[in-house]
Amino acid sequence: MKMKLSLSQKAGLLSLGLFAAILLVWQLATLPEARVVAADVDPEYAALMGGGSASSASSFPTPAAMAQTVWDKLSDPFYDNGPNDKGIGIQLAYSIARVLAGFFLAAAVAIPLGFAIGNSRVFYQALNPYVQLLKPISPLAWMPLALYTIKDASASAIFVIFICSLWPMLINTAHGVANVRRDWLDVSRTLEVNPLRLAFRVILPAAAPTILTGMRISMGIAWLVIVAAEMLVGGTGIGYFVWNEWNNLSITNVLFAIFMIGVVGMALDSLFGVLSKRVAYQE
């Protein structure tokens, strides 16, 4: 008898199969190698090279060891044993706090400014060269300047997030506001709607889907950039954690951190996915 599977069931099965395949390859790749010690090699040298023991444990963990680490770390995420040993929850919280601070500062600047640019052709043309010039600059290039002027590592990281979140929100807001359907503006004009009410009741809801897309892109970029920024400024955060564990040669912890960066990034993105749905409208 043939079983009829729905699309999502098929996709789910395929996903599980892929996961199993990845685990298998991972397991095979991390199998302890049985090394044959060549007879003419000095045993002391062999021992130095790590060949002395019966099997050499690679720094790369097996899936089982990885699972154990994930379990241990997640079961106690908020411990704090000084600067070099904090729970993953604390590190992620630092990173998320910096991202949110920089992101909302950027939104507070980009959305009103985008409104102004989108509403006025003069503003648009005047500011366009600046936006075009500043937009392609890697946010990390600002870091030395930020450290020099702000003189605070954590605030500099927030500034870098601010800079990288600014452009997508600014450009999308301006674009959304400039492309509000003429009909809706004409209706509002014939109803003598005052400018403030026009901005909040007509232009903002009309442009909201475009603005939110910009915010979603900004958030994605901010989460990418925070890891690099924290590697530079150090101290706390998931980026610092990755770099610190690399210095400890703990590949297991690095892998775990990579996994958690992905999980948090996904969660932030789906949050904006939900918000996008709420402001979406169908014409």
Binding site: D183, D186, L191, E192
Partner: protein, 313 residues
């Protein structure tokens, strides 16, 4: 202001656009003069490009004339106003608001001091008037084209404007829906004594609804070539209107204009003796004098006739 003074007066209106090729400005229409009295329903028809919509937008205050003036109720029209409600062909509803919210938005714009319940009740009254009770919490995307246009009508009437401007409001609707909404509009206008300026391409729509039909010649340099007094008695019934003695003279006159005469006016443009004031067609006079004048005034191209028969069948 005396009662004899027209409610709306349009004087010497003209609109020119910069030429796309960089030459002389293109004058779409000029020497446009007309008057609309309070409570009158005026239809404008003419071929595309004669500037009908531009005239409507100037009356609405959404566009500005190159020369000429518009006076309403003794005051010059300068910019949009709540005194003139506009019904757009594209209905122009805000898709993120429900039917009730769309109408309430207009009501709240008109009477900013009203509280929520008063705004709601007022909006609901007009939603009921256009037969949309029960659909007030739907979004425009959940409504059919005809229902959307009804919301547009409810919104325009809800602000109780002194004058209503309609730009081919039913152009995008199917014939059946159009008929139903025309009947509703006829009823509402009779109840409210609304002054209306409406653009239409539909000769039958113009005859059913209007008191006066203005015919525009072809652009550029379009102008109002003729004004037809619609002498059909009210109340009018769609099913019986064609039995009125004036129905076919008016209808033939309109169709003849659109098919042939609108072009001839174009040929006169620039000529020193070009008519600057429109001729008035009154079917009552025509019928009283003689019917033999008709074939002379009506050089119908052969292609036009079967079409008309089809429409009447």
């Amino acid at each position: 202001m005396t009662a004899l003074h027209p409610f709306l007066q349009v004087e010497n209106l003209a609109r020119a656009y910069p030429s796309p090729t960089g030459g002389e400005d293109v004058t779409v229409f000029d020497h446009v003069n007309f008057r609309i009295h309070k409570g009158e329903f005026v239809c404008v028809t003419g071929h595309s490009g004669c500037g009908k919509s531009t005239i409507l937008n100037i009356l609405a205050g959404l566009d500005v004339a190159t020369t000429g003036n518009v006076f309403m109720d003794g005051r010059e029209v300068a910019g949009p106003s709540l005194d003139r409600g506009v019904i757009f062909q594209s209905h122009a509803l805000m898709p993120w608001l429900t039917v009730l919210e769309n109408v309430s938005f207009a009501v709240k714009s008109r009477w900013a001091s009203w509280n929520k319940e008063k705004v709601r009740d007022h909006a609901m009254r007009y939603i009921e008037l256009v037969g949309l009770k029960g659909a007030e919490h739907k979004k425009p995307s959940q409504l059919s084209g005809g229902m959307k246009q009804r919301v547009g009508i409810a919104r325009a009437f809800s602000i109780e404007p002194k004058m209503l401007l309609m730009d081919e409001p039913f152009g995008a609707l199917d014939a059946l829906t159009r008929g139903v909404i025309q009947d509703e509009l006829l009823k509402i206008c009779a109840e409210t004594q609304q002054t209306v300026f409406m653009i239409t391409h539909d000769v039958d729509e113009a005859i059913l609804l209007s008191d006066k039909i203005m015919l525009m010649s072809n652009g550029p340099h379009a102008r109002i070539a003729e004004i037809v007094n619609n002498t059909l008695p009210r109340p009018r019934e769609r099913s019986a209107i064609h039995k009125q003695p004036h129905y076919y003279p008016i209808r033939n006159h309109l169709v003849d204009f659109l098919v042939s005469r609108s072009k001839q006016f174009g040929a006169l443009r620039g000529a020193p003796d070009a008519p600057s004031s429109p001729t008035v067609f009154d079917p009552a006079e025509l019928i009283e004098t003689t019917a033999s004048a008709e074939p002379e005034a009506v050089p119908l191209p052969p292609a036009g006739k079967p079409h008309i028969h089809l429409v009447n069948a």
